[in-house]
């Protein structure tokens, strides 16, 4: 909890930047246009963006003051190892999304599950095999069933 003001500060800053981008670029360009009796197509999105901007600026300012009061620095160098620890699952899943796009999911699934188990330190082979096989078999059964009743 102690690093909450710092988290708030940076997330507030990030969100504020996002809101500014939405307001100045994305919503005016892609928000749609057209004559309307009631509200312009962009109106609600713009209101939402202003709400975000207002809240995030207040949040940033408040947490900056809190940090200053406590005499803590605004920047804390993130631990690289920790960052990597947080990032690799995303890369892992992204990699498999690319694979799923190329190959049938029923082929990729055992690798996806088994690989993650091995990475997480599971070394009992029967656990890996069973955990990978059962959901895949379930998926296979489901697709076969759906095909037969004629949904897909």
């Amino acid at each position: 909890m102690t690093d909450m003001p710092r988290k708030n500060f940076w997330s507030g800053l990030g969100v504020a930047a996002l809101a500014v981008m939405l307001l100045t670029w994305i919503i005016p360009t892609y928000g749609g246009s057209g004559f309307a009796f009631g509200m312009q197509p962009q109106r609600l999105a713009t209101l939402g963006a202003w709400l975000i901007l207002g809240c995030s600026i207040v949040l940033t300012v408040v947490s900056a003051i809190a940090l200053k009061r406590r005499g803590e620095s605004i920047v804390a160098t993130p631990d690289l190892g920790h960052l990597w620890h947080q990032a690799w699952p995303f890369l892992y899943v992204l990699g498999f999304i690319v694979l799923i796009d190329r190959f049938p999911l029923t082929w990729v699934a055992p690798l996806l599950i088994g690989g993650l188990l091995l990475l997480l330190g599971e070394r009992r082979w029967y656990v890996v095999v069973l955990t990978a096989a059962i959901p895949t078999a379930g998926l296979y059964g489901l697709t076969a069933h759906l095909m037969r009743i004629g949904v897909v």
Partner: protein, 322 residues
């Protein structure tokens, strides 16, 4: 995408074919068909399509799979069908409005001539409706008179087509209407029932209120008077030369071989006489089943498009066209 997913399920498809049996050597269809619905699951088009698929399956001797491709008021499904080279194995069951008015009101990659219209099987029952105890009662003439005296009379619209029609009427009768958008019958009904809106377009919701009389019909937008509301005049009877009749049609790409179209039409004709199809259409969706062969549907649709074009010109283009 789906095919990839199902790469390993080919086995079961083969089984399905085997079960269906009766594969005639070089006769259409020799493999399962796909019936595409341009709306989400659970809607009236979808409910009807699923029963239709069951009936067709028996008629054609091949499985008929229903696939939903919702989006753009049925437009997404048609855009895909236009590029299909499936020779009739993939066909769309949908409403005529998507193909007649869709290309006029929005930019589409398809037009009326990109498809063959195998048959029309159901007549839409869309209407202009109002609520109970309105100052103008439930007659169209009184409503027009009321709206002429009361600028700001409100109308709830659902589709670009009904919006065009009401703007045309407003222009002709000199009305100053407040046109409120709503989504579907579920959005329209509370506005009418609570009295917040004076009158509205209804695709078919009013049929469910025929017994209680909570949603009187002012005008029928179908070609004839509505089954459940025989007292309300049609657009033409009220003096507007517009044919906005909605027809539910089966469509295939334009280069589909004649033999395939004929076979499908045959099966559809049998479906219109099938009890299950009639029951779900006339008792659940409350629309009359009909039979319109290819030439008749195509001609009707063509006439509608011409009519809409003329209307649009008279209105000086739709506000949507930017």
């Amino acid at each position: 995408m789906k095919m990839k997913l199902l790469g390993t399920a080919v086995l079961s498809a083969a089984m399905a074919v085997g079960v269906a049996g009766q594969v005639q050597a070089d006769d259409f269809p020799t493999k399962p068909l796909t019936l595409v619905v341009g709306w989400g699951a659970g809607g009236s088009t979808d409910i009807q399509a699923r029963v239709l698929a069951n009936v067709l399956e028996e008629e054609l001797g091949q499985p008929v799979n229903v696939v939903n491709q919702p989006g753009a008021g049925g437009g997404v499904a048609l855009a895909r069908l236009a590029n299909s080279t499936d020779e009739g194995y993939t066909f769309v069951f949908g409403t005529s409005m998507t193909i007649t008015f869709g290309p006029l009101s929005t930019e589409t990659t398809y037009g009326l001539d990109d498809f063959r219209y195998v048959a029309g099987v159901t007549l839409g029952q869309s209407a202009i409706v109002t609520g109970e105890d309105r100052p103008f009662g439930d007659s169209w003439e009184d409503l027009v008179a009321y709206a002429q005296e009361n600028p700001g009379t409100s109308y709830a619209n659902q589709t670009a087509l009904d919006r065009m029609i009401i703007e045309y009427i407003a222009q002709r009768e000199g009305l100053d209407l407040r046109i409120v958008p709503t989504s579907g019958g579920a959005g329209m009904a509370p506005l009418i029932l609570s009295g917040d809106v004076d009158f509205a377009y209804s695709g078919g919701t009013h049929s469910g209120y025929a017994e209680t009389g909570e949603m009187p019909v002012l005008l029928s937008l179908a070609e004839d008077r509505l089954v459940a509301y025989p007292d309300a005049p049609t657009l033409q009877e009220a003096g507007y030369d517009i044919n906005a009749a909605e027809i539910r049609v089966a469509m295939v790409p334009k280069d589909t071989p004649d033999a395939h179209v004929e076979r499908l039409a045959e099966a559809l004709k049998a479906a219109t006489q099938d009890e299950r199809f009639i029951e779900v259409t006339e008792e659940r969706i409350l629309m009359p089943v009909t039979w319109m062969p290819e030439e008749e549907v195509t001609q009707t649709l063509r006439d509608q498009v011409e009519g809409y074009k003329a209307l649009l010109e008279e209105l000086g283009g739709l506000p949507e066209d930017e």
